[in-house]
């Protein structure tokens, strides 16, 4: 008997009430302990995809299955399903009227009816793991962005989900805080946490993902290994997208910058030869 994948999406189509098709023919699987990174241009439907998996956006056709059970039919017990699918938002969405500890305990106490003492021990242990043991009694407004996002991650972990969805969790952070958050995610990956990650951090996606899904205009344009995707993307759209992250000095800035010129030539392989030649001169 084969183990069903933690997540399986089949021909998922999502259309907003205004007629805009956000996702079309999206099919993929996430196996246990696998880390899948979803990348693509802004507005391509990446975040909508995560919201569909969590039931925050309804889908119009196709199916999504969690652990082999379809969760997109009518009568889905979303409260039960969502406990299995942790979601971390771009803007943390900590509850400002509750302390850090209150944020961590809300789900376990109100949803899982856990014993308070036990849940508190678990919360403090998780806080300790992300280096915030001394902030349990603080309110979210007293934390930095990176600290808030670490709390948001462990708030999702408090429910012991089977899979964690991360929606551009470093997009609102100052650069120096990105690292502390991504380190937590890397650690989780090392422990075998199943994750579906939407990110703009290409080097992070490359380091952490077992598989890259490139979405363009609501469809999966490419699905491959990080190695393949970042060194030899198969589609023109993926090449264009990756070029956005590569910089070359402006023409004439470094007259002798041969390396940069070579890179420019490679990355703009589609532009006309005369253009490339001009850059050399």
């Amino acid at each position: 008997m084969t183990v069903p994948p933690v997540l399986r999406l089949e021909a998922v189509r999502q259309q907003y009430p205004n007629g805009l098709v956000a996702l079309d023919r999206i099919s993929f699987e996430v196996a246990k302990s696998e880390v899948v990174a979803v990348v693509g241009p802004s507005g391509c439907g990446k975040s909508t995809l995560l919201r569909c998996v969590n039931g925050l956006e309804p889908i119009q056709s196709g199916t999504i299955a969690l652990d082999g059970a379809i969760i997109t039919g009518p009568g889905t017990a979303w409260s039960k399903v969502r406990q299995q699918i942790g979601l971390v938002f771009q803007n943390y969405e900590l509850f400002p009227h509750l302390t850090v500890l209150g944020n961590l305990l809300l789900g376990p106490l109100k949803v899982q009816r856990a014993a308070k003492a036990e849940a508190q021990v678990k919360a403090l242990a998780l806080l300790d793991r992300v280096g915030l043991a001394d902030r349990a009694r603080d309110y979210p407004r007293q934390l930095s962005g990176g600290q808030k996002q670490r709390v948001a991650i462990i708030r999702a972990l408090m429910m012991e989900p089977q899979v964690l969805l991360l929606d551009e969790i470093t997009a609102s952070l100052d650069p120096e805080m990105v690292r502390e958050v991504l380190d937590v995610v890397l650690e989780l990956a090392g422990e075998g946490m199943t994750m579906l990650i939407v990110t703009h951090e290409m080097s992070f996606a490359r380091a952490i993902a077992d598989r890259i899904i490139f979405i363009d205009a609501g469809r999966i344009a490419e699905q491959t290994t990080p190695e393949q995707f970042f060194t030899a993307p198969q589609t023109e759209r993926a090449r264009q997208f990756l070029n956005l992250f590569a910089f070359a000095p402006p023409p004439g800035h470094h007259e002798t910058a041969g390396a940069a010129a070579v890179q420019t030539e490679e990355s703009s392989a589609t532009t006309s030869d005369s253009n490339s030649l001009e850059l050399h001169e």
Binding site: N54, L56, W78, S79, K80, R82, Q83, I85, G86, L87, F89, N91, E93, L94, F95, P96, H97, L106, G107, K110, V111, Q112, P140, R141, R155, A156, M159
Partner: protein, 219 residues
């Protein structure tokens, strides 16, 4: 102004103040609950909630409390429903205040980021618990200035209930003026009693708002 007259009137005013506070308190509780129910019904988009509450809000806001009280006290008996003046006063204040409280709650609910409730749903909370534990505490804090303004407005509105023979402060003052012609004493006591009731409410509300602002929700 005769000090002895003031002293002689004091017990009756104290009793009347109690009567005023009773309908003000019950009216406040009633209108707050009614306002909350209306705001939540609109928040969850319960079927029929919009048109029904829209009719109520317009009716409540565009008729004077005096007219509402006349209807309850003199009109309802014609339909076979007889209420005492106290009940009519509380129902009238609730009917009037409910629409104002609904507006305060609605603006508070709308000021809470939709992502907050989604974040609660993502943890597995149902829509009800998400509202109760996450959205409402923030919404009510945001609605506090509107809520306290409504409370003060409603307490002052109680001053018209003597029109249906409810023995409040104004009723007693009118009584003494009519019977004894001690206009100065009766009016001085009336002003003093309203100030004693309303000043602490106003000052307390201001202090409470300052504290909430200081607590400063959000990032």
């Amino acid at each position: 102004m005769e000090l002895s007259v003031l002293r002689a009137y004091l017990p009756a005013y104290l009793q009347a103040a109690e009567a005023t506070l009773a309908i003000a308190g019950l009216g406040l509780v009633g209108s707050t609950l009614l306002g909350l129910v209306i705001a939540v019904a609109q928040y969850f988009r319960w079927p029929g909630a919009r048109p029904v509450t829209a009719v109520y809000v317009e009716l409540s806001r565009n008729t004077p409390l005096v007219v509402q009280l006349f209807f309850l006290y003199y009109g309802l008996p014609k339909l076979g429903l007889v209420w005492g003046s106290g009940v009519c006063a509380v129902v009238g204040l609730t009917f009037l205040g409910g629409s104002y409280m609904a507006e305060a709650c609605r603006s508070g609910l709308e000021a809470v980021e939709p992502h907050q409730s989604q974040s609660a749903l993502a943890l597995g909370l149902g829509p009800g618990p998400a509202l109760r534990h996450v959205v409402l505490p923030q919404a009510l804090a945001l609605a506090t200035p509107a809520f306290t303004a409504n409370a003060i407005f409603l307490i002052k509105e109680t001053s018209v209930v003597s029109i249906i023979a409810y023995p409040d402060l104004v009723y007693v003052a009118k009584d003494y003026i009519g019977n004894d012609y001690n206009t100065s004493e009766a009016l001085a006591l009336l002003v003093a009693f309203y100030l004693v009731i309303l000043l602490p409410v106003s000052l307390g509300a201001a202090a409470w708002e300052r504290r909430l602002r200081h607590a400063g929700f959000g990032d």
